[in-house]
């Protein structure tokens, strides 16, 4: 850890040389976190200095600290990957006239983060190139900021008819081809407004956040520390365990809680199982987007036993409910280990077969090579994460950069490609799929004995911060927690990996063919969720009957009885 502190001191010195006395306070959060409190006027030059120090921007957190220090605070989070160090660049904004300098001109990837804190707590980023609304609904009233602490979590502003998002108009000669808000290959609502000339995309605009659920608000106003993991798990239908782990780690870090080694190993196993089923799911969707439904059907069939494993371990296919602050609520039963190994063997054998089939498919190559190119430079500037970053030759992986769970003892293989096209992202994911299988095996072989939960007896001290990252299948998820009173966080900020990755999309589809847009978007990895079981309630007798997988399959195959007819 000496090297972490050494690098931290170097970075603090460099920033101090650049901005002099405008660097007000240098402090340390948890051991891997350097906090730099700077004067508002020096924010941009401090950012430039951090970028020169090769710090990678993660996300911005805006906090309403009016009850603590009579101001708003803006925290830009950075990561120095090679040094395993987080840097928090923070500054205050006046409570009555909240303004800070925008850093989007220095870091294009800060675009959405800055629009988001403007929407959420009402601090204006001065000089932002695109200050339109990002997060709030189009009929949300002006001047009402939901993440301010005096805003009640259950307030519902009156809805207004006839409002539309402020979207860009197409350039002259181009017409609009809307992809979304609802579209066959978009699993979630999001609106890509493509400007096309014939078959060529000449520009686009984006409107998202149709599904904003106010999760962060619930975290700092209604729920308590140990209730939040179950909400965090529901952020994503695929990488639920990733978000609950990431949140728990942030709190554990802030409070200085040591998690038992066995729990860290089991977290690793669950995280990698999630990567396996997620990458298989993604391969299928990518195939489907290209009309190659055989890939979809086969990979989803291969994926199913992994879901059954999750069910056997936790009782659920998804949303396992296993994580809690300090470790796990449920141990890994010894009886399931041989089954895991058996399923892994089968998945590995079939994955290799799929990989070989894909690599030899010339039509598939024709559709993915040189398609949707994300250049290394742009990937770095937009701060793209996960397989899209690694496919463009950016060697980042949260498991290596900020080892969490048991990754310090079980390092993953860094899978990178240089070309930055859709094919590279396919190759990266297939490599990772096979590496995850190896990792689960390693973790099981070295699984230590012992407890899985450190009981948290003391109150978690308030106003500390914890930053945690987890390498989700789609890329790095970031959770920031500032502890608070009342047994709940003062502020909880979640950044899912798609947040930076989507911002790279416009450059990736510039002058692409329309046909390449869905697969380019798909190559950033969409989300999907499905149910296997149905609970039926007889309205007359109130009897509950649960249909099993087999029964449902049989019912759906029986002619004339599908579709709910009885």
């Amino acid at each position: 850890m000496a090297s972490v502190q050494g690098v931290a001191a170097q970075v603090a010195d460099a920033v101090a040389r650049r901005i002099g006395r405008d660097l007000r306070v240098v402090s340390q959060g948890p051991v891997d976190t350097l906090r730099l409190d700077v004067a508002p006027k020096a924010l941009r030059s401090a950012t430039e200095e951090l970028v020169q120090q090769r710090a990678r921007f993660l996300v911005t957190v805006g906090i309403d600290t009016r009850s603590l220090s009579a101001d708003f605070r803006i925290l830009h989070l950075f990561s120095l990957d090679s040094a395993h160090l987080f840097v928090v660049l923070e500054c205050a904004a006046d409570a009555n006239d909240p303004h800070v300098d925008s850093i989007t001109s220095v870091i294009p990837g800060a675009n959405w983060s800055e629009r988001e804190y403007r929407d959420a707590i009402g601090v204006t980023p001065d000089g932002h190139p695109d200050p339109r609304r990002l997060l709030l609904a189009d009929d949300w009233p002006e001047g009402v900021f939901p993440l301010r602490r005096d805003f009640p979590y259950d307030y519902k502003p009156p809805s207004v008819e006839g409002v539309a998002p402020r979207l860009k108009e197409p350039p002259e000669g181009a017409s609009v081809l809307p992809i979304g808000p609802f579209f066959p290959v978009l699993e979630e609502p999001s609106y890509w407004r493509l400007f096309v000339e014939g078959e060529t995309v000449v520009g686009c605009d984006y409107r998202g956040f149709y599904n904003h659920r106010g999760i962060e608000k619930l975290g700092d106003s209604v729920l308590t520390y140990n209730e939040i993991p179950y909400l965090a798990e529901r952020i994503c239908g695929i990488c639920g365990f990733i978000h609950s782990t990431c949140y728990c780690q942030a709190v554990e870090k802030a409070a200085g809680i040591e998690v038992p080694r066995r729990a860290r190993y089991i977290r690793t196993i669950m995280l990698e199982l999630e990567r396996i089923h997620s990458h298989l799911l993604w391969l299928g969707i990518a195939g489907h987007i290209l009309g190659f439904d055989t890939v979809l059907m086969q990979t989803w069939r291969m994926r199913e036993p992994v879901m059954w494993l999750a069910e056997e371990i936790s009782g659920n296919r998804k949303t396992y409910g296993m994580n809690t602050i300090g470790g796990l609520r449920r141990d890994l039963p010894a009886a399931v280990i041989p089954k895991i190994l058996e399923v892994l063997d089968e998945v590995e054998r079939e994955s290799i077969a799929v990989r070989n089939a894909i690599i030899g498919d010339t039509t598939l190559l024709a559709r993915t090579k040189s398609v949707g190119i994300l250049t290394n430079e742009w990937a770095r500037q937009v701060c793209v994460v996960g397989p899209p970053a690694r496919g463009s030759g950016v060697p980042i992986d949260a498991r290596l950069d900020h080892p969490y769970a048991a990754y310090d003892e079980l390092p993953p293989r860094l899978c990178t490609q240089e070309a930055g096209d859709t094919w590279s992202r396919v190759v990266v994911r297939v490599d990772e799929l096979l590496d995850s299988i190896r990792q689960v095996r390693d973790a099981l072989a070295r699984l230590p004995d012992g407890e899985v939960l450190t009981e948290v007896k003391d109150e978690i001290p308030p106003h500390r911060i914890g930053i945690s990252v987890v390498e989700a299948p789609r890329g790095e998820a970031v959770h920031f927690v500032m502890t608070g009173d009342d047994n709940r966080p003062y502020r909880w900020r979640v950044r899912a990996p798609t947040y930076p990755n989507l911002q790279a999309m416009p450059a990736m589809i510039d002058h692409a063919a329309i046909a390449d847009v869905p697969i380019t978007l798909g190559s950033l990895d969409p989300c999907f969720s499905c149910t296997e079981r149905v609970e039926a309630i007889d309205v007359n007798t109130r009897a509950v009957r649960v249909y099993s997988h087999k029964e449902l399959m049989a019912m759906s195959r029986r002619r004339g009885q599908g579709g709910g007819r009885r």
Binding site: E199, L290, G291
Partner: protein
């Protein structure tokens, strides 16, 4: 034609009936095949019939008026049925005449034209993109069909489909006819709207392209015309270019032809299920190469091979 008008009419009715009534079954077989490769159970073989019945029973919703738009579905199906009477089924084409080959090539393109008309009339941006893709496909696939048939014409020295069939049945396989047959088979993949050439409809990109605004009976007629078209083309391929064995008994020849056509469609189905979709310019490049290769068949035909 040597037969009387009543016989001609009966044969024409037979061809139309086969195209109408058996094409959904052929589609059902292809769907079943797809399901097997997917490790699925798949729908019953009769599902396409049920689809048609369901669609025909629905409300007729139109996004726009205008004569071309209104008549397009009927034009699409009608042209395919007319095509069926120009295609030999077990014997010479019922409505055949000297020079019917030229008419056949034109009629073959009509259903695609109807689809393009609908696409541009329906006013959806997806349909517009799909319509222009359909047009580009038509312009590159149609020459392949024409070249293949011209090879047959040069070889047999006649401009009637029945003449080519008779010549082929009598003389046995030749190099030029074999190349033309392969070219026609490759064109069939696009004519049937199957992967990797379902580019105009491209569900994941254009949500059905030209057909996006079609529903109910109109969609049923378009679907039916597409299914009938793939069967009629398969019959054309196996009759004109692979007419052996030619028994001489009508019923036996009809059954044989249908079996061969089904084999061809199963091959089309296999190609469909193991390929992702190409981009439009990739598909056009592919069919231009096919057309150029098919020209070599013409050269062989001229030197008598």
């Amino acid at each position: 034609m040597k037969d009387g008008p009543l016989v001609t009419l009966a044969l024409a009715m037979l061809n139309v009936a086969v195209a109408l009534l058996l094409s959904p079954l052929a589609e059902g077989v292809m769907r079943k095949l797809k399901a097997i490769v997917h490790s699925r159970t798949g729908p019953p073989l009769t599902q396409p019939y049920l689809d048609l019945l369901k669609l025909l029973g629905k409300e007729d919703l139109r996004t726009t008026g205008g004569l071309p738009y209104t008549l397009a579905p009927a034009l699409a199906l009608g042209s395919v049925l007319l095509l069926a009477t120009l295609v030999p089924l077990g014997t010479a084409p019922p409505m055949g005449f000297a020079g019917d080959l030229i008419v056949l090539i034109y009629v073959a393109a009509t259903s695609a034209v109807a689809l393009i008309l609908t696409a541009f009339a329906s006013g959806s941006p997806y349909a517009a993109v799909g319509g222009s893709r359909e047009m580009m496909m038509l312009l590159t696939v149609e020459p392949v069909l024409a070249i293949a048939l011209v090879v047959g014409a040069v070889k047999s020295g006649t401009l009637s489909t029945g003449g080519i069939l008779a010549w082929n049945a009598e003389h046995g396989p030749t190099i030029s006819m074999a190349i033309a047959a392969v070219a026609l088979f490759l064109a069939l993949q696009a004519q049937a709207g199957k992967l990797p050439f379902d580019i105009p409809e491209a569900e994941q990109e254009l949500m059905g392209g030209p057909l996006i605004e079609q529903s109910g009976p109109r969609l049923a007629l378009f679907r039916w015309s597409l299914w009938a078209k793939q069967l009629v083309f398969a019959v054309l391929l196996v009759q004109v270019f692979v007419p052996w064995p030619h028994v001489g008994i009508l019923a036996a020849d009809v059954v044989l032809t249908l079996i061969k056509a089904l084999v061809v469609l199963v091959l089309v189905g296999v190609i469909d299920v193991v390929n992702p979709r190409l981009r439009i310019e990739q598909a056009m490049g592919y069919y231009m190469r096919v057309a150029l290769s098919a020209l070599s068949a013409l050269a062989f035909a001229v030197i008598g091979m």
